[in-house]
Point group: C2
Chain length 224, copies 2
């Protein structure tokens, strides 16, 4: 990344410096802090990456794009980008967070980066925001290969369970509807440890199984 | 809603009619269909609603905005808006879906509306897209009151379990870290039927409990 001039620490020259200051203010330093901006920045980032994937990969289906985006916008990636932009030293933290090294913590860096994204959007509009964000993510986007975007949900669920030496999932066909040209299949995927199950539907039994496995993975992901 | 002219069925005059045709083509009618556009439209809608809430509710916190958005972008709301825009009769469906009344189904209408959102964005850019979408959602946005945006997660979880006559959740304090000015609390919320648990953290024990309850609700929501 080319060295940014001091007035453009994130590749954008802010008209409203107050927005940037708020984006860099952690809750521990008092209001106005960056949590509302983070909410908006999260949605901006999801869209900008979705759009980039849509344009780069004209033949990728929804599932591949969803997995690719999850890969790109995860906390560890955002924290790494924040470090590359030297965001940490600019953070405003309360004394407790300061002492415990909050400006190096992945979650704080990642949240603040999302807040900066929102600040650019509010300062200069969506096109300016997209331009800055794509510059930060260019190397990660370039490095992503469609063939390597994670494995399918059934494979990932199986591997997750095997790694923990737990029983494999059970897939159960719940029903079929529609005529031969446009059948819809319903499938339930059940896992016993922890006890989680979910239903999926799709144009084939395999697609329904993948969707059900994806839902079980999502539930397992939220479960501590 | 004012009657749209025939050339602007969704409040936007498409330069590229092919984009609109693709957005209205269900998978059952063959490729190119609207599933990739739906992926992009989903992200656009999330952002446009996030931004509208951010601007309308300058004092709302992240949690209230998240709940308000979930309320606005759910399938039944999108399907109702799609019906108001007379989207159903314009859909291209395969013979099976056509026969089984697919053009009236909430999921198909909602997905196609998201695809139309993406089509407008690709046709004319983000500002035109936002303008069209906000016109569709204006009445719902106006009708939403911050005080009424759902109850907090602990209350919703308790009501969910009580409605099903299941045991109430158990909240367990896992630990505290940080000094008095910026403490972080960790809490686990456990539900026994179905067996689901999740951890949350926050600046107060209550905030940590809310986050854990929210994660359990998300898991229960995915579970069939």
């Amino acid at each position: 990344m080319a060295a940014a001039r001091p007035t453009e620490p994130f590749g954008h020259r802010f008209g409203d410096q107050g927005l940037l200051a708020q984006a860099l203010t952690h809750r521990s330093a008092g209001a106005p802090h960056n949590e509302r901006l983070e909410f908006l920045g999260d949605a901006l980032l999801d869209l900008i990456i979705a759009e980039a994937l849509y344009q780069r990969w004209p033949r990728a289906d929804e599932g591949a794009m969803t997995r690719a985006r999850a890969e790109l916008v995860r906390e560890s990636t955002l924290a790494r980008i924040a470090r590359g932009l030297e965001l940490g030293p600019r953070l405003m933290l309360g004394p407790g967070e300061m002492k415990s090294g909050g400006h190096r913590r992945d979650s704080i860096l990642s949240d603040a980066l999302e807040a900066v994204i929102a600040a650019i959007h509010l300062d200069a509009g969506f096109d300016a925001c997209r331009q800055a964000v794509l510059a930060w993510f260019r190397a990660d986007l370039d490095g992503l290969e469609i063939a390597k975007v994670g494995k399918d949900a059934k494979t990932r669920l199986q591997e997750w369970l095997q790694a923990r030496q737990r029983p494999l999932p059970v897939y159960e066909l719940l029903g079929e509807s529609g005529d031969d040209h446009a059948k819809t299949f319903g499938v339930r995927c059940s896992v016993s440890e922890p006890q989680v199950s979910a239903e999926g539907e799709g144009a084939s039994r395999r697609a329904a199984e993948q969707q059900a496995a994806e839902a079980v993975l999502a539930a397992l992901d939220k479960v501590g």
